[in-house]
């Protein structure tokens, strides 16, 4: 039904994350094989591998691009308890008239975590070059590069103790000055007894601290991914959550006297939609550029899309079969062929 293109990624183990740059012309993948690969799109739209390197000494969970304003910069995080910032630089000794070969160097290794670093994300560019990580022991760390020209210097600005086994985080991408910086964090702790699994933090300009402003108590199942939708001038925030189903929450800042006095935003949280289409665990969610279509992936092997038609009206609009391993029938054919050449040494000379 749909024409689906393929890229042969050839990672040696499961790919955990795919990230695009701001323009969608470069792509980075990371995998349990501890490698990160960078792919570039040529003018015909074909993707080719431009770099591949062993980035960590454990599974690489996430990879993310910084805004191009800061150069070609990637951040990765891994089970090896570190997060790293990488920059692409132009190498020495290129041939005449050619550009030097580009390669990625590790600018810094953030080693503060004592456990697996499960997610890493650059903050909105209006905040400067900042980086948030979260780790399995439930600590959120906010780093900042005070000098954007020197990516090897990062200072740990904030350390926030959240609940254990944080699995994912997302910055609120709003450009607006009306909204203070906001983060959502999800936990994949399996026990329902520990209560809500999604937490919203906000940076308060007055106290210069990150404060938890909301716990989404309606979600007690493990959360595997969450994503704020691109805000684009909307008066409320939309958060998509991958748990046992797909949830879409509307977070509307309430401007009452209380919140103005305390300087802490109060949020009105509404579940805009809940989709059980996957019939199983949902792994990832992501938004299109306007935040009007959500894509999700689940254990059922489908990529599904949900579209907004009106503020709270979401509809399931598409399901793409993510792709089976090669169907069994073709293997039968291959088997017969193999059987025919029983003794390869008998192939006659020419």
């Amino acid at each position: 039904m749909f024409e689906v293109q393929e890229i042969n990624a050839e990672h040696k183990d499961l790919i955990h994350d795919v990230a695009y740059d701001f323009y969608g012309q470069r792509m980075a993948t990371c995998s349990s094989d501890q490698y990160v690969k960078v792919w570039d799109q040529n003018n015909d739209g074909k993707w080719s591998l431009s770099s591949s390197w062993k980035a960590h000494s454990g599974s690489v969970w996430k990879v993310t691009w910084a805004h191009p304003e800061f150069g070609q910069v990637l951040a990765t995080c891994s089970f090896d308890r570190t997060a790293a910032v990488w920059e692409e630089i132009v190498g020495e000794n290129p041939g005449p008239g050619e550009r030097g070969t580009r390669y990625w160097v590790r600018r810094t290794n953030l080693v503060d975590s004592r456990t697996s670093v499960t997610d890493v994300k650059f903050g909105p560019k209006t905040q400067g070059l900042i980086l948030a990580t979260c780790s399995a022991d439930g600590i959120i760390r906010i780093y900042e590069a005070p000098d954007v020209m020197n990516l090897s210097q990062w200072t740990l600005q904030h350390e926030v103790q959240c609940k254990p086994s944080c699995s994912c985080l997302s910055w609120n991408p709003s450009f607006s000055k009306i909204h203070p910086p906001m983060l959502a964090v999800g936990c994949d702790d399996t026990s329902a007894a520990t209560g809500g699994k999604v937490f919203i933090y906000e940076f308060s300009e007055n106290s210069r601290r990150w404060t938890k402003i909301e716990t989404i108590s309606s979600i007690t199942e493990p959360v595997h991914d969450l994503a704020f939708s691109p805000n684009l001038g909307r008066s409320y925030h939309v958060l998509a959550i991958a748990t046992k189903d797909v949830r879409i929450l509307n977070l509307t800042p309430v401007n009452d006297n209380n919140s103005i006095q305390s300087g802490i935003t109060k949020l009105d949280v509404q579940t805009a939609a809940q989709f059980e289409d996957h019939l199983s665990t949902v792994w990832r969610v992501c938004w299109n550029i306007t935040g009007t279509i959500l894509a999700s992936s689940g254990d059922d092997g489908y990529v599904r899309m949900f579209k907004m038609n009106y503020i709270n009206s979401w509809k399931s609009v598409a399901a793409l079969k993510a792709g089976l391993p090669t169907p069994p029938i073709s293997q039968t054919a291959r088997y017969i062929k193999l059987g025919a050449i029983s003794q390869p040494r008998e192939v006659p000379w020419h």
């Binding site: 684009l232 894509a295 992936s297 609009v317």
Partner: protein
């Protein structure tokens, strides 16, 4: 079916065996519609039963000869301790006299485990219950042994071991003994014990096929993963809530362990990854997944030997499922609608913007991009922008803004200080109440219908202005009304035309319109009949006409026809049916209200309508609010519900004041600009910026680069700017004879030289502008001065381009800067 059912893939593709009370051989086939009835295993595959073998009744364990390629050779371990080699019917092994061969231990007791050597495939090893006088691990060579029992290197390992299960690979054997320990034996050197550990987890020992160092075993509720290099304690303990019944490493994927618990419909899969932190190995990472193949009480499963992520599972009731485990899919969306997702470890799949899927979705992002490319919102005439969109609401907004702009310009709406006043501000509703005069016009006078009564209308100067805003600018004379109606007829909007005619008390005209409409009309609506009904109009309260029109009018599909009859049958000037008729455009409803509602009612109606429209985010509300704070609220609501940042930003920029928008407007503009940037529509963004600055003449973009003298440090740029304004030290050099300055106007030191031609910046070169003869341009771009951002050396652009065609380093002698590579970043 009695006993525990087991299942195992055979080395022959698409064949598998199950055993319980009998051994069955199946072959998997693709499901086809007309094919012979298969046992359905999955949506795609089914199986034939090829053969059954029920010669053996007390089967405890089976292993298949690993080199079986045409026929299967099974080694069957039985409860009485006999191990029998068997096949399904005649086979290639018959000539070797293998089938039927029995391997018997000295003392009869249950055989617990059996395993072929996968490399030296003639060797077979078995584990037995403990017996005081016999060994519990026995190894045979099937080729050497004569027909009776044990031969070859059978080496006793433990005199009284209860060896529970064995798995053998590459000459090294791991055995679980006596419920106490796991031993690793090396048979190459007369069964030397090379390693052992003391543990209770001795069941189901499984060697990781990708890394022989790793073993997994279980007991009761616990799975232990072992690293044989550090065998004292398990690398990992995975506790479970139920009794375990089987564990198996995946044969096709690294480090994937499948675990089956008793009486559960699901399997647990563990992806176990080793990690080094510095030089020390830390506890491995484990990703747990639970898959439910759709069976109750799974008793066994078997990983496919070659197909990734595929396994067979069998339930207590004998149902079999052929299951694919989907790898965790990760996905991401680019700004340009490229959606990518992963398939396992090797493949990424993606769909692009051109995919037909997106056409069917009709998403706003695509519309925005398309409209941006067409230059939507940038046209000088506001209504032209409306022509570019297919959305009726948006088109109306642009038309309306155009209209109000025009009306303000030609002075019709004098007295309002806004560029786009709304109906409410024109009516001065929020201020003092205005007393409109009420006029009664008899039906007979205007429509020529035989009616006695009259209709009550309200008139005021402000109301007239409001009508203009609604597009009903035909109040003054009949000619303009006729023109307007003709226009509507051309657009095939017969019912609207008729209704408006009736609202203007021109029933005759309405009838004519409807008659004309019925001639070239849309099927399904019989306008002729409506015209006939209309012709019988009588405003007598008790007339038959009125009584019979009252009920069927609700059944009319067309909103305008409904409104028309509602109007004609309205009692006590109650027009609610028309005012709240959502099928009518807001313009028409508001215009209607402006004609027929008394001041206080009009006031209330417009207020409530405004609230509704704001709530709905309906841009038609801008008619009422104009470019006021409430208008901003409508825009925000519209944006909230549609995500159409483009129209919102454009309408805001084109018709709202900066003061009114404040941060909100800036936010919208920045969002839209960043959207265009991420699509690399820089030209479109630039056009938007140009339009923006033409709307906001006071916000001039700041100068980005300044030139100052190397010696005295004084700004040259400032001096040059002064020149162009006709001031400064050398006013005579400005004007037509444009200045070429090659030295600092302050200290007279020369400006920098071009590194190639060694001319000073600002020197007039001979070859300028020869080709186009366009005297207005002093130098063309290739003679502009340019420099490297890093080493600050530079020269004329064309010279630099030429130089860097062959060089990477800076043209200035002794400068090592790799300008060419660097400033590309």
């Amino acid at each position: 079916m009695a006993g525990k059912l087991e299942i195992q893939w055979s080395p022959i593709k698409n064949k598998f065996i199950t055993w319980g009370s009998e051994v069955c051989l199946y072959e998997i086939e693709q499901l086809k519609e007309q094919s012979t009835p298969l046992i359905k295993l999955s949506p795609l595959t089914g199986a034939h039963l090829l053969a059954t073998n029920n010669n053996y009744h007390y089967v405890k364990c089976i292993d298949i000869y690993p080199k079986s390629d045409k026929d299967l050779l099974l080694a069957i371990g039985q409860a009485n301790g006999k191990i029998v080699l068997s096949t399904f019917g005649a086979s290639v092994y018959d000539s070797q006299l293998l089938p039927g061969k029995e391997l018997v231990p000295r003392h009869q007791r249950q055989c617990n485990a059996i395993s072929w050597n996968t490399t030296e495939s003639n060797k077979i090893v078995a584990g037995f219950e403990k017996n005081r006088s016999d060994y519990s691990v026995l190894l045979w060579d099937i080729n050497k042994s004569p027909s009776h029992g044990e031969n070859g290197p059978i080496r006793p390992i433990v005199e009284y071991g209860l060896s529970d299960t064995t798995h053998r690979k590459c000459k090294v054997l791991a055995t679980g003994n006596n419920n106490k320990q796991i031993r690793i034996l090396d048979f190459r050197d007369s069964a030397k014990q090379v390693n052992h550990t003391i543990t209770k987890a001795v069941h189901g020992i499984s060697v990781n096929p990708y890394n022989e160092r790793f073993l997994a075993s279980y007991v009761d509720h616990q799975v232990c993963v072992w690293d044989t290099r550090n065998f004292e304690k398990p690398l990992l303990i995975l506790p479970h809530s139920k009794q375990l019944s089987k564990i198996a490493w995946c044969t096709t994927k690294q480090n994937l362990l499948g675990i089956l618990q008793r009486d559960l419909p699901s399997l647990n899969l563990y992806d176990i990854q080793q990690t080094m932190v510095g030089n020390e190995e830390v506890e491995p990472s484990v990703i747990e997944r639970i898959v439910t193949p759709g069976l109750h009480n799974i008793t066994s499963f078997s990983w496919h030997p070659n197909d990734e992520n595929r396994f067979l599972a069998i339930s207590l009731a004998g149902h079999i499922v052929d299951y694919f485990v989907f790898d965790r899919i990760t996905l991401n969306w680019t700004t340009n609608a490229n959606l990518v997702w992963t398939c396992g470890r090797k493949t990424l799949k993606y769909i692009t913007e051109a995919n037909p899927l997106y056409d069917s979705l009709q998403d706003i992002s695509q519309k925005i991009k398309l409209r941006a490319c067409k230059g939507y919102g940038l046209k000088d005439e506001l209504c032209k922008n409306g022509e570019m969109v297919d959305d009726i609401m948006l088109r109306n907004v642009w038309n309306r803004l155009h209209l109000s702009d025009k009306l303000v310009e030609d002075g019709t709406l004098r007295g309002s200080n806004s560029k786009h006043p709304g109906v409410r501000s024109v009516l001065k509703i929020d201020g003092a109440t205005v007393k409109s005069e009420s006029v009664s016009i008899s039906w007979a006078e205007t429509s020529g219908v035989n009616c006695a009564g009259s209709a009550r209308m309200y008139k005021h100067e402000d109301r007239e202005k409001a009508l203009y805003l609604c597009g009903w600018y035909f109040d003054k004379d009949t000619a303009s009304l006729t023109e307007f109606l003709d226009e509507l007829e051309k657009e095939q909007a017969f019912t609207r035309a008729a209704a408006i005619a009736v609202f203007n008390l021109k029933i005759k005209t309405a009838i004519e319109i409807l008659t004309r409409g019925s001639e070239n009309c849309i099927p399904g609506t019989n306008l002729n009949v409506v015209a006939m009904a209309l012709a019988g109009f009588s405003d007598d309260k008790n007339s038959m006409w009125r009584q019979f029109c009252a009920s069927p009018k609700t059944k009319l599909n067309d909103p305008y026809l409904r409104a028309m009859f509602s109007f004609l049958t309205a009692e006590n000037n109650n027009y609610d049916n028309i005012l709240y008729e959502n099928g009518m455009t807001v313009d028409d409803r508001v215009a209607f209200a402006c004609i027929f509602l008394p001041d206080n009612k009009l006031n209330d109606y417009l207020k409530s309508l405004t609230m509704t429209l704001i709530y709905e985010g309906n841009l038609d509300g801008i008619l009422l609010t104009g470019n006021t704070q409430e208008g901003v609220r409508i825009l925000q609501k519209y944006l909230d519900s549609t995500g159409d940042i483009q129209s919102t930003a454009l309408i805001a920029v084109r018709s709202f004041n900066t003061e009114l928008l404040q941060d909100l407007g800036k936010d919208w503009i920045n969002s839209y600009r960043s959207l265009l940037d991420s699509w690399q529509l820089w030209h479109e963004r630039a056009m938007f910026d140009i339009m923006l600055s033409s709307q906001r003449p006071n916000d001039k973009p700041p100068q980005q680069v300044y030139i100052s003298c190397n010696f005295c440090g004084k700004s040259i740029s400032a001096f040059m700017q002064g020149l162009t304004r006709g001031r400064g030290t050398f006013p005579r050099m400005g004007g037509a004879n444009k200045l070429k300055m090659s030295s600092c106007p302050n200290c007279r030191k020369p400006l920098p030289r071009c590194a190639i031609c060694l001319m000073h910046m600002g020197t007039t070169t001979g070859d300028q502008c020869t080709s186009d003869g366009d005297g207005t341009k002093l130098v063309d771009f290739s003679h502009w001065f340019t420099w490297c951002q890093t080493c600050r050396h530079g020269g004329h652009a064309s010279h630099m381009v030429h130089w860097f065609k062959q060089h990477l380093e800076c043209p200035v002698t002794a400068c090592q800067c790799r300008c060419f590579s660097i400033d590309a970043v």
